[in-house]
């Protein structure tokens, strides 16, 4: 059923991604690929993986951006994956019921046994969260590692998405946004977590923590003309060099 759940899901599972600590190592993307290509779904395809025209399905992509004014530029690494929107347009456009949002935890999934591969859901998503599997003829997307987070065969510490487990910078956090005391809720509140493309009103679940403000270039010590009578080591150097 591709109508969105009428009642708000009991849980709102999702990710918090800390753009301050992400180092852009792609470990989340690689471990996502590894888990989801060997998990219970059909593999994530790779066309010509060792050739000239590499083209494969990845559910997580790590972009790098630069921004800021001159002298105060920033480089930010930005992992991009499904945000499990409350008003998911990828769900309502689906003609078959393959694309759906779970009522129990809000996870957006594709039933690969029903998907006809019309690609309309990927057109509807402004975040580019869905990639088409041309081998299987069906759409692929982040499952929030649903086959890990509820998997009792795994140690409890491992029952979180592969990308969260893999992150060496601890920039990714998984939890329930409906619980105000969960780590994801507390981090979002403390760090001013933002939603992406808020103007579209899709109410994405995942939140991104903006980079903390950095020190400005020139804020540190410098050897300019010291004020007359300045003390300390730099004052002495200034006096010595000014002779």
């Amino acid at each position: 059923m591709t109508s969105l759940p009428k009642q708000a899901p009991a849980k709102r599972l999702g990710l918090v991604i800390d753009l301050d600590t992400c180092v852009g190592c792609h470990a989340c993307a690689v471990s996502c690929k590894e888990w989801n290509t060997t998990g219970y779904h059909a593999p994530l395809p790779d066309a010509d993986p060792y050739g000239k025209d590499v083209d494969g399905v990845w559910l997580n992509r790590v972009h790098g951006y630069e921004t800021g004014a001159e002298g105060n530029g920033r480089t930010v690494y930005f992992p991009r994956s499904c945000l499990h929107c409350e008003e998911a347009p990828c769900v309502t456009v689906c003609p078959t019921g393959a694309s759906y949002k779970r009522t129990e935890d809000g996870i957006v999934l594709v039933d690969e046994d029903i998907c006809i591969g019309c690609k309309l859901c990927s057109w509807a998503c402004p975040y580019g969260a869905r990639e088409f599997d041309s081998d299987g003829g069906v759409m692929k997307k982040c499952t929030l590692c649903i086959d890990r987070i509820y998997n009792e065969n795994l140690e409890e510490v491992d029952r979180q998405p592969a990308c969260v487990n893999a992150c060496p910078a601890k920039a990714r956090h998984f939890g329930d946004f409906n619980d105000p005391h969960s780590k994801v809720s507390e981090l979002t509140a403390a760090r001013g977590g933002v939603e992406l493309l808020p103007e579209m009103g899709l109410k994405p679940t995942n939140r991104y923590l903006p980079p903390r403000p950095s020190a400005k270039v020139g804020d540190g010590a410098s050897l300019k003309d010291a004020a007359a009578g300045a003390g300390g080591f730099l004052g002495w150097i200034d006096r010595a060099l000014s002779r």
């Binding site: 921004t67 689906c94 003609p95 591969g117 580019g128 990639e131």
Partner: protein, 321 residues
């Protein structure tokens, strides 16, 4: 957006077919068409062939065409599903309409209702096709209130010109079927005006989103642009191939001129030629007008895809969409 040939064929062929079927249904109900079986067979056959070929082509772009039947289930939320349901439902009244005309040769009592029902379902189907695009907020140039109107009026215009072409050999008097030509004129002129209004609207529209709002970096950007630095992958992925198609402004301008010419100007002139000429010249003008509008509408539909920008490109270097 990458222009998908199967979808371009689907929307233009079904548009012409449904436009033709709708006009046949209404005009026969008004008793303004020749009653001959040969004309009915040719006109209805053409309409049903265009519709069916278009619908079959739409299956060609599916990853799993054998599961296409599942698309009839989600009409409560999905315009694509509604299009499928309405397209199949439309065959019912169309079959009754054809039966009354071609087999029974009747157009009295309740029989005209079959044609009118086929006409109504045709227009609603074209509308739902357009709404598939209109409903996608991620593609602002499709998410525009004029889009369904352009689809509807272009379907009527192409349908009218094909009706006019098929009708021409069956109308012997030199003035011919003035009503069909009047409909052609009105529909093509209205479509032209609407398309111009649509192009003006999308050309002037400011982008609603930026890379800063797409990445949540507006705070640290402090008004400075957010520029891509390290790409996430070194070769085009599905997103870039499907959504990253871009057309140079000069090519788009040329193709728009071609649309003005083939979809609108040439058909209008040829219908005029048809009106003032007789015999083979008149027949040829009517046929060429139909061919010209069909070609023009294919170019128009190709541009509809090629000029549409998808918001995901904000992550890949577009600054405002």
């Amino acid at each position: 957006m990458q222009p998908a040939y199967s979808v371009i064929f689907l929307t233009t062929a079904t548009g012409a077919g449904y436009g033709l079927l709708a006009l046949l249904g209404v005009l026969r109900a008004m008793d303004r068409l020749p009653d001959e079986r040969a004309f009915g067979l040719l006109a209805l056959g053409l309409a049903v062939a265009l519709i069916s070929a278009g619908l079959l082509a739409s299956a060609a772009h599916l990853g799993r065409p054998e599961r296409a039947w599942r698309a009839f289930s989600q009409w409560r939320s999905s315009w694509l599903s509604r299009e499928g349901v309405l397209a199949v439902a439309g065959y019912g009244p169309a079959a009754l309409f054809a039966f009354a005309w071609l087999v029974l040769q009747r157009n009295d009592g309740l029989w005209p209702l079959a044609g009118l029902a086929a006409a109504a379902l045709s227009m609603v189907t074209v509308y739902s096709t357009a709404m598939i695009y209109r409903s996608l907020a991620a593609i602002p140039r499709w998410h525009h209130p004029l889009v369904p109107w352009v689809y509807l009026i272009l379907a009527l215009a192409t349908g009218a010109l094909w009706l006019n072409a098929v009708l021409a050999p069956f109308v012997s008097d030199p003035v011919g079927h003035a009503l069909a030509r009047a409909i052609c004129f009105a529909a093509v002129a209205a479509a032209w005006l609407l398309k111009i209004a649509y192009w003006r609207a999308i050309d002037g529209a400011a982008g609603g989103s930026s890379t800063a709002s797409a990445t949540g970096l507006a705070g640290i950007a402090g008004g400075a642009p957010v520029r891509p630095l390290d790409p996430p992958h070194v070769q085009d992925n599905y997103l870039l191939k499907e959504m990253g198609f871009a057309i140079a402004r000069k090519h788009a301008a040329k193709l728009r001129r071609l649309t003005h010419l083939m979809a609108f100007l040439v058909p209008l002139v040829l219908v005029l030629v048809q009106t003032v000429s007789a015999g083979p010249v008149s027949l040829l003008a009517a046929a060429l007008a139909a061919v010209s509008v069909s070609f023009g509408v294919v170019v128009e539909r190709w541009l509809f895809f090629a000029e549409a920008q998808h918001k995901v490109m904000l992550y890949y270097g577009a600054d405002s969409i």
